[in-house]
Subunit: 282 residues, 4 copies
């Protein structure tokens, strides 16, 4: 061993290593598993899966109404069919001999900034507007954001849908939010911001640009106090259900190495014409 190695080890203490993997989530002793301080056997006995998700990412158990709203957002986003690249890639993976873990990892891995990030970006936008309303009124704060987006040509995340003129998940989700606003279990601040955004985006246009699934779930997650980045995480948990269902359905069929289009369909080649490697055959 070199002097450098010996010196490093001499200065090291075992708590360097145990602290390196420090966590506030799970506490394990022989015969004991506590999650966020709660014995796992109590959680198994009385906690729903949605409550458990909340506990794990937030650190405390939710009120029942809040857990129900979270659950509705999780239910809403499970799937939108095999044209989504995450679902298509997971189905292709299921024919390549990679196991369900490989198919699911593939699908989850595609939920990046563009495919899986609109909800998180919408939460960030709602937050920015909310901050701006501290010093001003809602209508002006929203108008500023809309103007900023139009000036840069960027779209407002969480609004509009390439396929649905009105996303069928919008109304039931916002209805559920409104009910809890009415009973006082959530503030409604983010709902009001999103509705004002929707109103201003529709203004002067032939067709409105209603909230889509990303916008409606962003309102829910923001009302419930989740950080924007967790909006992405919760969407991934939800869409993982669709990924699993599609990968499993595909695995029951006999296809091997499924490509994106049937084998007799060749892609268009747009590159250079046939040519010879320089000096080949010399």
């Amino acid at each position: 061993m070199s002097a450098a190695r010996e010196k490093a080890l001499a200065q090291a203490s075992s708590s360097d290593v145990t602290d390196w993997w420090s966590t506030a989530i799970s506490d394990i002793e022989p015969g004991i598993i506590r999650l966020r301080g709660y014995p796992v056997e109590q959680l198994i006995a009385g906690t729903s899966f949605a409550q458990m998700i909340w506990l794990m990412v937030r650190g405390d158990l939710p009120a029942p109404e809040h857990a129900r709203l979270l659950e509705q957002a999780l239910v809403a986003a499970v799937d939108h069919g095999p044209q989504a690249p995450s679902i298509a890639a997971a189905r292709m993976a299921a024919t390549c001999g990679v196991g369900l873990h490989g198919s699911m990892s593939t699908g989850v891995g595609l939920l990046g900034d563009i495919h899986g990030g609109a909800g998180q970006q919408c939460m960030q936008l709602l937050d920015d507007i909310r901050t701006a309303t501290v010093a001003g009124d809602l209508e002006t704060a929203v108008a500023q954001q809309v103007a900023d987006h139009r000036a840069t040509g960027s779209y407002i995340p969480g609004f509009g849908h390439r396929f649905h003129a009105r996303d069928p998940r919008r109304d039931p989700l916002l209805t559920a939010v409104q009910q809890q606003v009415d009973t006082g279990t959530i503030s409604g601040d983010y709902l009001r911001i999103a509705e004002e955004l929707e109103r201003q985006l529709a203004s002067g246009r032939e067709r409105p640009v209603p909230m889509n699934i990303d916008g409606a779930t962003a309102v829910i997650y923001a009302e419930l106090g989740f950080a924007p980045e967790l909006g992405r995480g919760l969407f991934i948990l939800s869409r993982s259900v669709g990924i699993l269902a599609h990968a499993y359905e595909q695995s029951l069929e006999s296809q091997r190495n499924k490509g994106p289009i049937p084998r007799q369909w060749l892609w268009t080649y747009s590159g250079p014409a046939d040519r010879t490697v320089p000096h080949h055959g010399e």
Copy 2:
């Protein structure tokens, strides 16, 4: 275009392409999303996340008691701390600039045959024993399997734990199963097989080898009629919650490129001594 390409396209019909992505899961029209035939707005209004998971992977909605048992299995397996390679890898990923989707994809991708497969393998074993009991008694069928495993030196999946003498998740899960056997909502066939396995594995040993989380959830998933491969899929959904919680916790800290041990600890090098590349410097 070559003659081969032209011929292929001439024989192709548009239904080749639409059928290539055929699915029985999701049905989308403008303004309409149906999952397994149910309008998504109805599912949002009245379906729990656990029921939704069942619907998506099985095709029909579960009885409430069955949904509750599924939920308990999902709650039980969310996390066992950062020494699990899936959790550790996801936490390291969270310091590498890959986004939450990248961290979660990394963790899920490690739940392979060894790390994530014991539940599925236990379900297959329970199925094999159940098939054998059609022509014989339970005790003999179990004894045969135990003898087969001992002969090949392979361990019985779902029993024993390297850390817990008795996995604290075993009792609450099996109690929940027994209650539904008592009320007649499940048959109890798989519970009896697993308990007989546990009894025979303990026989003649100083320390018993009780069912672990993989065994107890295998009993639940088998009692509920899930295919063994879906046992893996459900475990992945459950553990994804722990992966998300850990990746998010890690992302809130300032570490960058977190390795497995602190930086001052160098690994042991066990390879060839310092040598010179042949012909170097000639």
Copy 3:
């Protein structure tokens, strides 16, 4: 801290941790990097990338002829176009906001037993036949394997191609092998086995079943002494080049969330007809 934790730490020594990450590959000290014992600066000065790959996975530098044959196998397998699921998935990933690392991870992750395993399986088959020839003649050993595969209905890995009647990569690769057999730098044992397999597979059939890229590279890797599992690894390194090229090409285009077929093409839905969630609206 619990007694269990204290006891564990008291028994632990720092070499437990440094040995846990022991490796014979890389040896690092401040200012020094040695790979397989060689100083990295010497390797940079005089080693080709193919030689470096060999050194890293095998532990020693190859003879120049062997490095050249490895290089030809690596060159041959880089790409077969976007209908391969690994390439298609990587291209879709490139439109999802996941970075080049995410696209490449996606593509590599699909090279499983079915999509990326034929070369490895062919190497295993060649090895099995070679073992059988120790006690018997080549023709009989091959005939036995062909009969075994036909009996179980399984195909012989490395032979035949769904698209090419004769894989254009076969001849240049086998020519390169034959040249080194002629000059005595490799034994030719595996080439003879593969050619005999090809001969027997063609026997009595209208169309021959010539070696494909997996078979031809399996011959090369086996002649060079690589373990079958490394055949998979080397194929992954080779195909990673095509994955990178395709992901990068796609990233230069403007598509977002690219699905497998154009957006106006809807998939066939084959599930249950529209139905109502039980008890909905009660």
Copy 4:
């Protein structure tokens, strides 16, 4: 089929589908494979792996000197040992039953903006400075960038190393660059910028902040005309070799579910004390 589906299909043409997967990289016909226009058999006969990488990502074959410089950069970055999270995660994956494709996908997936992005970021910085030198002198342009980074507290990518006072890969790589500048095969513009950066970063400090592997390879890739994003891609190809070597070495050992630290070492728990689930047992 709904009216919407029928209408979509009626408007669709088969070239929609074939164009959807258009590429300028690979052109396949029965019996023919052309890559960037070159027949694969010619490439196999006379092209090195490094030249092939260049051809695939750039579209044309490189001059021999340029291929050699690319090769040196690829050789230099293959590995820096198992404390790198990509290597550690790949080794852990290799014990989880996910196959070599799963291990390699895991490692590659961690080469994100922080772990794998410094080279790309350094190339971007060199480009920005080069653009600024069109209207001004080099010293001023560099000084401006250094001042900008110091003002925001961000570090300059490609310079300094947490472990090596002087990265041993710097000198042999820059020597190779200088030789080609001397013979006129590359311009040396980026080398001069990087050396000026190094000079100014050292100015007034006790210890210099020399270029590291990311900086030295960034100079090479920039001199060779690669786009910054391809700098990331080439680094991934290079590091994939180390990932493969480590994953394969790990797979030969008997560990299962290898965690980051030995099993007897428990992590520090920093969360809430043991508590009871509200209403539990009522």
